[in-house]
Symmetry: C2
Subunit: 473 residues, 2 copies
């Protein structure tokens, strides 16, 4: 079997850390070149993150948006010069040119592409994490799915109406694309999906509250599209609170401040409390800690968000052989060399960076000059729920953009996302699941493992100290 | 909304504990009667257990074989006399006629149907559980899926061939239908699914070993079908060890004894050790601890396996209003009143018991005599893998049975299982997934959340004490 494969003994070794959009594109480009590639990821799968909120809200099963990395790269593996390893990188040693995995293995590299992405940031309040999970990994999505569905179950169990309210209140912190998608979908679940399936409660009475510190939702979009998004969210039954600054999150709810105009017309900051048992964190992202590790080893600079500041060709200063791409990179686009622009943290950006870093490595090996990164912006898209979305699309080769919203924008969003899903099969599955969900208002992935097995207290409404001991357990 | 519903204030309350095949059937029958029904389950879903091994082996996503209980019972809920609660029953008090949930709520009942099913038994060696997970719940299936896929990942990471072997050895303990299905599917995964997806290892060299204490596999089937099953398993590349008595399981492998014929022709017991990191427990089942709880409260008798010995009408002695059905019941069938036969622990048995218990409750309310349970046996089926199965099918109204095996048996098995899946949609999904898997040898659910998030050491091959501290974590 092996003998049909490429002899890689004398090929330069490229190590790619992280197999998100950036790492995957880099591996695909490199595998055609005279290099021996090792792809390292802490999970066994590539995640189509734009649809992760669908797994969290029980619209899609995990396998529909996540594919095994080694299956996606099977052609490259068969070619003989690509190795996929599941493991966690503990440190990077640029001097001895190796990365160290959990378990202690040292993996040598001639070239390194760091594409470890980002995780969520609680702005120094990591104690909020256990009350307000973020949405970055499959694990996160399963946690949120379980908490949301369990909240409705606990509301049905709770006989005291006062105690029931917090179970029927869902808060989303942060009104970027993910927060808007979550809030819109949660509202749909309460208004439509679960409508007729409870005896004691009316799921339509559930509140979905979207809190945003900034003055408007989808801050990266033009103002009028933000307005459309807010209207569409409210149309779905969600409450939108711009200018709400979260000051604390605990097991009982969210404390937040808002500037309000008093009876005498004077502005003052008012402190509010929203009682809720279910909070989703969609506010801050922080670069992977591997950025810090790299800076430790190479002295490269990090920006405020902990992202590695890269050179025009995506390598880091004084280390021509180390590249950083995707959400972990603070990169500029040199489409117009005279005034470079910051590259946004979106998947097309990561993909384009991954390809460019790979090509620059191949150019170095061919003795050519590396090239500066040029980001092609195809616009921005955000969905709010079934039938609703906002879109901002570039017209190629012009500086013009088209804006649209509502149903056409949703159809466009649907098409783009299904088109970019990896692998024919997943596309079909996702499309079928959506057609089904669309026409029936059902979400078929509404299952989660026995919570007792996961978190002993996950489904306990209020544990009575005088309750009989669980002798039957 | 509520006002269109049945007024349940004066209706007798039936509590059903457990929503497996037995509990679900009981609820459906009862909801047409003059009763107020409360269904309690510790999970939010009904599980189609015959296909759980497909989730464990990454062939199907969980939602394809599990449906939310309140969605399955939505018509009954809309009718107004059915309430579904997710919660764990801590104790049963037959005197005050109530069950106590986690959290301390007391739920009153006039009639009780106990359908809590079975869990796995390690024959008093519960310390084996963490090395050899059983397969009863979605959580179990995810654990096994993660361990199997992680074992191959660790084998690819392991550079020492001696240390690699245990990662490429998969043991299944117990050769009942589940054990046979697991072993056959694991062999397929190693031989076909993963064949071309590794660089350092050849997945086809992986060993799948099926250990069975009894002299043959599928002990409940006729001998010739056991023979077919063994041949088919070996044809798929699995090793079958009948007469292997497991004496210990630890993190390094399985110790087992076998009686062998020595050079002098004398029989002697030989102790063996199978080095493996991945063990699936399919050997023993134990009744739910709620059986013991019921016996505590009512004095009803339990059999050796901890199952409640029920009367002909499925109620328990001196408690006409308490019924036990499914795997938790030790019940007899009175098809021939003169020599009643034990009912096997299979899903058709549970369904038929659930319906009978429900009808007997309705008969009592109508002032009629309850009826003895009569089990209609439609035969037995077990699949070994793609293309292979064994079947034993009754010819209705005769005492004759047809036996067949191989591809026709597999097609029959496929048809029966898809037919009995709950809900049109799941049927389609499962069928599509299988058609896909069949023609491509692919299994598309090969993903699991980041193991670091679940078990800190799950993917660590061998942690080197001298490894750099994880300061980059």
């Amino acid at each position: 079997m092996k003998k049909h494969k490429l002899d890689t003994t004398n090929l330069p070794r490229v190590v790619i850390i992280g197999c998100g959009f950036g790492g995957l594109e880099a591996a695909k480009v490199l595998s055609h070149g005279p290099v021996d590639i090792t792809v390292i990821d802490r999970t066994n799968h590539h995640l189509f993150q734009p649809l992760l909120y669908q797994v969290a809200t029980a619209g899609l099963p995990a396998p529909a948006i996540a594919g095994p990395i080694r299956h996606i790269l099977r052609t490259e593996i068969a070619r003989g010069n690509t190795t996929v390893l599941m493991g966690e990188v503990m440190s990077i040693d640029s001097a001895s040119k190796c990365v160290v995995l959990d378990g202690g293995e040292h993996i040598h590299f001639d070239f390194l592409i760091l594409a470890a992405g980002a995780t969520h940031s609680y702005f120094g309040r990591d104690d909020w994490a256990k009350y307000a999970p973020g949405l970055k990994t499959l694990g996160d999505a399963f946690t949120i799915r379980r908490r949301v569905l369990t909240a409705f179950e606990n509301a049905e169990r709770e006989t005291d109406p006062v105690r029931r309210e917090p179970w029927l209140t869902f808060a989303v912190v942060g009104a970027g694309p993910t927060g808007v998608e979550m809030a819109g979908t949660l509202a749909e679940i309460a208004q439509q999906t679960l409508r007729a399936e409870f005896q004691r409660i009316d799921s339509r009475r559930a509140r979905v509250v979207l809190l945003e510190g900034a003055p408007r939702v989808l801050g990266t979009f033009p103002e009028d599209l933000s307005e459309r998004a807010k209207e569409q969210l409210e149309g779905l039954g969600a409450e939108v609170l711009p200018g709400a600054k979260v000051t604390n999150i605990n097991a009982f709810g969210i404390h937040y401040d808002m500037v309000e105009v008093g009876p005498d017309g004077s502005k003052q900051t008012v402190s509010h409390f929203l009682p809720t048992r279910t909070v989703v964190w969609a506010a801050g992202v922080a670069a992977s800690p591997l950025g810090k590790a790299l800076s430790k080893s190479t002295g490269c600079e990090l920006d405020r968000a902990g992202r590695v500041i890269v050179q025009p060709d995506l390598s880091i200063p004084s280390h021509q052989n180390i590249f950083v791409v995707g959400d972990l990179a603070s990169a500029k686009s040199y489409l117009d060399p005279d005034n470079p622009t910051l590259v946004p943290g979106v998947s097309p950006g990561a993909k384009q960076m991954g390809r460019k870093a790979a090509r620059n490595i191949l150019r170095q090996l061919a003795g050519q000059e590396t090239q500066a990164f040029r980001y092609f912006d195809y616009g921005a898209l955000a969905t709010i729920g079934k039938r609703a979305a906002v879109a901002l699309v570039d017209i190629p080769f012009t500086k013009k953009k088209i804006k649209f919203s509502g149903f056409p924008a949703w159809l466009f969003w649907l098409w783009v996302h299904i088109y970019f899903l990896i692998g024919f099969r997943n596309r079909t599955v996702v499309f079928m699941d959506w057609a089904w969900a669309y026409f029936t208002s059902q979400r078929h992935a509404r299952v989660f493992p026995d919570p007792h097995a996961l978190e002993p207290n996950a489904v306990v409404v209020h544990r009575d100290p005088n309750a009989p001991s669980p002798d039957t357990k």
